[in-house]
């Protein structure tokens, strides 16, 4: 499609959204669960297409944003005590913990390596066999299989100095908690998480909560199409789970990826910033992979790390506040010098508002 066709399609979808929303009995409020959608929506200025009674709020699907401060402290304490190489995705590096961030730890001489793929951490551990290498395991269902596959490789190759510090999260438990909220009419469901778990896995939104959900791609037109479908389903009171990203997402997801995850991990309780401890919303290493568990083999005492009480990240992650309501936003808290993780992550809601404005 050329850009003229694209802008015509966008106008057609915006008109469909306006017409459907005009029939709604009250305000329409949807949540985009995934941080990559948050960024795409702001980058394309999509909110300017919405009628006044339609609001889109951000959800908990930003892995860095829901990771607790204490996890950063845990990693740094392991790095200090065992002279370990900490291996991480770039997103996490500037998140402030109570002992500073991974970036400040590195500037003070700590070994912190940023990688594109978790597989790179195998190479790092082979380069320095006497030093423990610890992969910081943050992410949702899209990322979890890549770490599980890395662990399988490490097991086959009998690598003894490779460890994972797990803080993985799965999307269904918090989504269930959010679906119970009366002020949310439905959900724009994540694209690449769904590629793994499948669009059928969200059926409970309809059967238990009578709310629609649409799996969406990441192009601006994909997102407008998904919103049109959400508004129509709300107005017609006929909630369903629709898959508007069929070119990538299958109804049963990717069973091969899920099998790899199941071999390596088992469900565990997990603590979410903003949502607290949610039963069975995280993943721990199975007994057969416990030799790679940094928590067990590189033990440290990690003190509690309370958040700055002025930071509204928790309320922002659950869609109850927008960043412009936070007193720190854009003043004490900026992407260069962030207070909370919602400003750190490139896909955090505060970072998106800061970069592109509220619209």
């Amino acid at each position: 499609m050329n850009s003229i066709e694209e802008s015509r399609t966008a106008r057609a979808l915006a008109r469909d959204i306006r017409e459907a929303a005009a029939k709604a009995p009250g305000p329409l409020r949807y949540m985009e669960v995934c941080g990559t959608h948050t960024m795409a929506i702001h980058a394309a200025g999509l909110k300017s297409f919405f009628p006044d009674n339609l609001k889109l709020v951000s959800g908990p699907g930003c892995p860095v944003c829901v990771t607790e401060k204490r996890f950063i402290d845990h990693a740094i304490l392991i790095g200090q005590k065992y002279d370990a190489a900490l291996v991480t995705f770039g997103d996490l590096i500037k998140v402030p913990g109570s002992l500073g961030s991974l970036a400040t730890f590195r500037s003070e001489g700590g070994a912190v390596r940023v990688v594109y793929s978790p597989l790179d951490s195998i190479e790092i551990s082979l380069q320095q066999p006497s030093r423990p290498t610890v992969f910081l395991g943050v992410g949702f269902e899209t990322t979890i299989p890549t770490v599980a596959a890395t662990l399988k490789t490490a097991k086959v190759r009998e690598i003894e100095n490779f460890f994972v510090l797990p803080a993985f999260k799965t999307i269904h438990p918090p989504l269930k908690a959010l679906a119970a909220k009366d002020d949310l009419n439905g959900f724009l469901l994540p694209g690449h998480v769904s590629a793994i778990i499948g669009s059928d896995s969200y059926d409970y939104l309809v059967s238990e909560f009578h709310k629609p959900g649409v799996v969406a791609g990441f192009e601006p037109l994909d997102i407008l199409l998904a919103l049109r479908d959400l508004v129509r389903m709300t107005v017609e009171d006929s909630p369903e789970i629709l898959n508007d990203y069929k070119r990538v997402v299958r109804s049963d997801g990717n069973p091969t990826a899920r099998k790899i995850v199941k071999e390596v991990f088992e469900p565990s309780d997990a603590s979410w910033r903003g949502l607290g401890v949610i039963p069975r919303s995280g993943l721990a290493l199975r007994e057969s992979y416990s030799r790679f568990d940094a928590t067990l083999h590189l033990p440290v005492e990690v003190p509690d790390a309370p958040d700055d009480p002025r930071c509204l990240c928790a309320a922002i992650l659950t869609g109850s506040k927008t960043p412009d309501r936070c007193g720190l936003f854009g003043k004490e808290c900026t992407p260069e010098d962030p207070v909370g993780p919602c400003m750190v992550s490139s896909e955090g809601t505060c970072a998106a508002y800061y970069k592109y404005g509220a619209a």
Binding site: M1, E5, E6, R8, T9, R11, A12, L13, R15, C34, G35, T36, G61, C62, P63, V64, F89, D91, Y116, S117, P118, L119, D120, V138, G139, F140, T142, T143, P145, T146, A149, P190, G191, H192, V193, A195, I196, L221, D222, L225, K246, R247, V248, V249, R250, N254, T256, A257, I260, S345, E347
Partner: protein
């Protein structure tokens, strides 16, 4: 963090490994999660792994739908 991009599989380099190409950039990719993949397929690549194969037929259906919508507004004034 769940960013993933379509890249074409241009070479199978070993058991469960290959090379992808997007706009002239070639990269190693693990095919462990997509055992049914074929040379020339477009993969959705995340953190060095192909996590899914792009369904060309579904991609075509989406484009047809968008073209149809575009035609519906073609006669109108640009705002």
């Amino acid at each position: 963090m769940c960013l993933a991009v379509p890249m074409q599989l241009v070479e199978i380099t070993g058991e469960g490994t290959g090379k992808v190409n997007a706009g002239g950039v070639r990269a190693d990719v693990s095919l462990m999660m997509i055992p049914h993949v074929k040379l020339g397929d477009y993969l959705i690549v995340h953190a060095g792994f192909g996590i899914e194969v792009l369904d060309a037929e579904e991609a075509g259906i989406r484009l047809d739908l968008f073209r149809e919508l575009a035609e519906a507004t073609a006669g109108e004034e640009e705002p």
